[in-house]
Amino acid sequence: MARMTGGEVVVRCLLKEEVKYVFGVPGAQLLPLTDAICKNRDRGIDFIHNRHEQASAHMADAWARVTGQPGVCTGTVGPGATDLVPGVAAAYVESVPMIVLTAQTQSWRSYPSHGSTQECDQLALFSGITKWNASVNSWDRIGELVRQAFRMALSGRPGPVHLDLPADILFQTGELEEDAFPEPYQYRAIEGPAGNPALVEKAVELLLSARDPLIHAGGGVLRSGAWNELRDLAEHLGTPVTPTVGARGVLPDDHPLVFKPSGYGAIGAQCEADVVLAIGTRFGELDGWGNPPFWGEKGTQRFIQVDCAPEMIGVNAPLEIGIAGDARTVLRQIMDLVRKTAPARKAGRLATECRATEQAWRSEFEDLGRSDTEPIHPLRLVKEARDFFPRDSMICVDGGNIAVWATYLMDVYEPRTFLWAGDMGHLGAGLPYALAARLACPEKQVFIIHGDGSFLFMNQELETARRHGLQVIDIIANDQAYGMIKQGQLAACGGRVIGVDFYDTRCDRMAESMGCYGERVEKPGQIRPALQRAVDSGLPAVLDVLVDKEAALNPPDFATIVDLWLQGCELG
């Protein structure tokens, strides 16, 4: 029997889930929680304090994306909690499991408010951006509700969950036996659910009878760790694979069956396939909703959708077969049946034809990637960075137009090595993502490529990097503008722009001021040596690269993206 605070009960529960880090900014009402972490450091848990809670949420998000385990973040009552919101929202829309812990004023003076300073209806605040949330209204229920939080974060469609912890509950002490902290397998599912066998059998029949089958792999494949199963199936059937933006790296970009999202090889394959096995994707906007022109004509293409969340089945594209189940488990079921009934096939006509299309599409970008023009072309920067870092590096992308430019030549070769808040499109997520990636994979090099606009949303986290000794290489394509918005204004507003241009900020000197390495780069030939000096510094580093402002404004697919975003709007 041990006597412990509410904060210690929370931490003991986190330890059972093998949580290594809690990301946050401390506060008075959080004292029992942060102190419990401090006292339990020798048991493998630690606190990473940021300079802003948004970064804490982004770090928890990235931790989950890289490790597959829920990330944990915390903020104190009021401003701490509200500052977490952007990072939690980014994770929510991409189904990333997180545990969000907020302090609350004492239970006897919150819900309803009695006018305490900093008090905030945090349950309402987080209800729209979490799968589930609750107020821990009794010391006796802490363990139960923390376990429920993990159960909810990891079941069905994963996502962030939120616990609101009143200060009096966190400070309260009580006694608990060791068996009050069960093992995770005792209170939540460890394996994802299987698909209905009859539906799996029908899906296999359809796949095997297809003229040109295609596998479309979404973030659900990464979340469930199903890349080996995906590769087995694709290679056995010789089937092209089109990962979604959120699933980059699920198979290597240079795998002969893989086609980059939105590349012409992928669009061609998506339009031509007669049967599509879509796994772990809901056919969102960046997937063109599963509709032409990014997909085949209605009635000519049959969809099989596998998703862990039944409510996502058929939500956008009409289906032939919908299977609710975990991506890895269902892929194994499919593969078991395929192996029994069909011999391995060579890459089919569709893969071969679309490879030629992909190469033609890419060759134009390869040329720009070799450009010696000054100022530096954004693709030259992207290519130099990709070529410099090892294949298994952790890649973080952050920003508007530079993120589009990066799509073309920023090849990804391993699962869970590509981090981009693509769905929410948050500016500033890149640096916190990189820091978490470095914590999760200290043996790997980590780099970020982003614009100056996005860098200046979260640059203060360089100090976090320096303090924790986390070397990440931060590469800024500096065009002194919110380029994507500027180009949109130029195109749609008769050449008028507003609110999009910046002063020439020396991002490299900002880095130096926080004890990091900084260097400004102005010529193409300087990029690679600067990258080497950045790595050799042993410090977190910023390369402030001045890029061609005009070229940066116009990534080739900008117009297509705007078409998607503003579909149905009356534009001049």
């Binding site: 012409y264 299309t357 599409w361 117009a559 078409d563």
Partner: protein, 141 residues
Amino acid sequence: MARLKFLSDLYMEEATKRTRANPEYQEASEGFDDTLSFIVEPEPDKGITERITVGTVLPQASEYWLDDRPVTFTFIAPYSVYVDIMTGKLDAVRAITKGSLKLKGPMPKILRYVKGTNLWIDTLRTIPTEFEGDFAERSFG
């Protein structure tokens, strides 16, 4: 040269000549070797009352026709979309990928010849062109 009515017999004859005579286009489209039809949907409220169909073989431009024939690729769009493409307001491949220029036929092959497609449109843009109906003021050359 006087302006030629867009997609008329004379226009197609001139387009054929200029297509054959463009070595850069021919090089970029080597291996395409296929038949295409362009169907223009009427827009009566804008003064375009008739459906137009033209076809050709590219990149050779060995012949052209002004009726419906079985082809590998069929492009379908209202007159206004073609005007936007010909006047440079809309990129041809973007028109396909955004769905305003509908394609019946193997998408991968068309997307493989983007450079050739753009060069062909550039070639057509060298022809003094007269548009009809409400689009007359966008005639060029």
